[in-house]
């Protein structure tokens, strides 16, 4: 299993979001250039899991062209942290919308 989330990007629109289930898991949001803007998770307190979180995001970002990809994962918290660490290992910093996370609190991976 690849440790990176490498599924194809989907346009963030109601058609694609409605296809999602209410499962728990992680998701990434990207801009038109497919640069990752944020890495998040739909956890145990989300009302409708991945579908609920992305529906909320869709409503808040009306008019913007965004992309998303998801991974259904019951270990959403450790997977979320892992994806953040991979992003830092790849790009040297956290995604634009995850800047509030304290980078020094994240672990460091040396990905071979």
């Amino acid at each position: 299993m690849s440790i990176r989330l490498e599924k194809p990007w989907l346009a963030l629109n109601s058609e694609n979001v409605n296809r999602l289930q209410g499962q728990l898991g992680v998701y990434q949001i990207a801009n038109q250039q497919k640069e990752i803007l944020s890495i998040n998770y739909a956890g145990g307190r989300s009302l409708f899991g991945l579908q609920g979180d992305l529906t909320d995001l869709l409503e808040k970002t009306q008019g913007e062209t965004l992309y998303f990809r998801v991974e259904v994962n019951m270990q959403y918290m450790t997977r979320h942290e892992e994806l953040l660490m991979i992003h830092v290992a790849d790009f040297g910093e956290l995604p634009e919308h995850n800047q509030k996370i304290r980078k020094h609190k994240l672990g460091k991976l040396s990905i071979a």
């Binding site: 440790i3 145990g44 450790t78 660490m85 672990g107 040396s110």
Partner: protein, 388 residues
Amino acid sequence: MDFDMTPEQQLIIDNVRRFVREEVIPLEEKMDPDASAPPPEDLERLKNQVRDMGLYGLGIPPEFGGPDVGIVTQTLMAIEMAQHRGGLYSPCFGAFGGAGLAQLFEATEDQKERYLYPVLKGEKHGFFGLTEPSGGSDPARAIQTRAVKEGDDWVLNGAKIFISGADKADFGILFARTDPDAGRGGITCFLVDTDMPGFHVRRVVHTLRSTHYATEIQIENLRIPAANVLGEVNKGFGIANDRLSRQRIPYAAGCIGVAIKAQEMAVDYVKIRETFGAPLATRQSIQWMIVDNEIDIRTSRFVTLDAALRSEKGESFRTEAAMAKLLASEAGGRVVDRVMQIHGGYGMTKDLPLERWYREMRIRRIGEGPSEVQRLVMARDIIGGSFH
């Protein structure tokens, strides 16, 4: 054996119980059901409250600034501290502090300056690197990471797995083979800085726990000065083994704490939940589950406190600690399973902590030595070492 609490112990336990119920559990109600850390400002507030209670730095010897609390009292506290959703692996979110790596108290003064004192001040964090892909229950044979002397340095090559916190640590205690032909007499313990060239955390290892992942480490031509040998060359097995025995008592106590909390939930629920016109509490099948839980909890508690008392008195406690770890981890699993059954569908949901405890309690039968190894340890003591 007399396990009646002294007035001082009772006061401490009452304080810890109040702290868990009034400070810790309300915070968890706002957190993700799988989370183990509150916002930093809340954690700092909790730590200050623990400092005010005079209990901060649990496990740190008083001469190094820890509270003067005996092992029995610490065990009673550990039972209380685990009684919340994240309590099995993050009792009170770590608000009681503690050194974590007790081996450092035996380090040289130079090593204490570089590692122990910064840990006690919260400036550095360490990891414990024992288990390898070839196994963790039999370190005498499973350790394949090699350390070869080159001039004044040691050069290490190998891999470690299921290591907690290595990706966030500043240093670690790492075990390597220094004599390939000497079995348990050929292992040495090293202090390794994680920024040394050749130290790599290669991946996160996801498990049933959704927080506090483990990591896999690769060590490639990692050069360590001789001054970083902890203890004596080829005497590392004793350091590892001592830690494993001591750790079994608080490990058992955590399982008991969660089992007590689950049982408390069950006792409350069976009085209010009705089926076929009568409370669950009137059903014999349910009553027996509650009674079996109580037997599991009381036997585990008795054996664990016996191990703690022997340890506190300086007596041999290896068999008792192994027995406590085996009993409490298996009993805890049974208790949580029965309480889930009593709660029916709700027991499976993330609304209640039971499903998290169910996953985490399963790990407890493996972590710190699986049940089978605990039996092996006891058999060696009972029958005699030459028959293993």
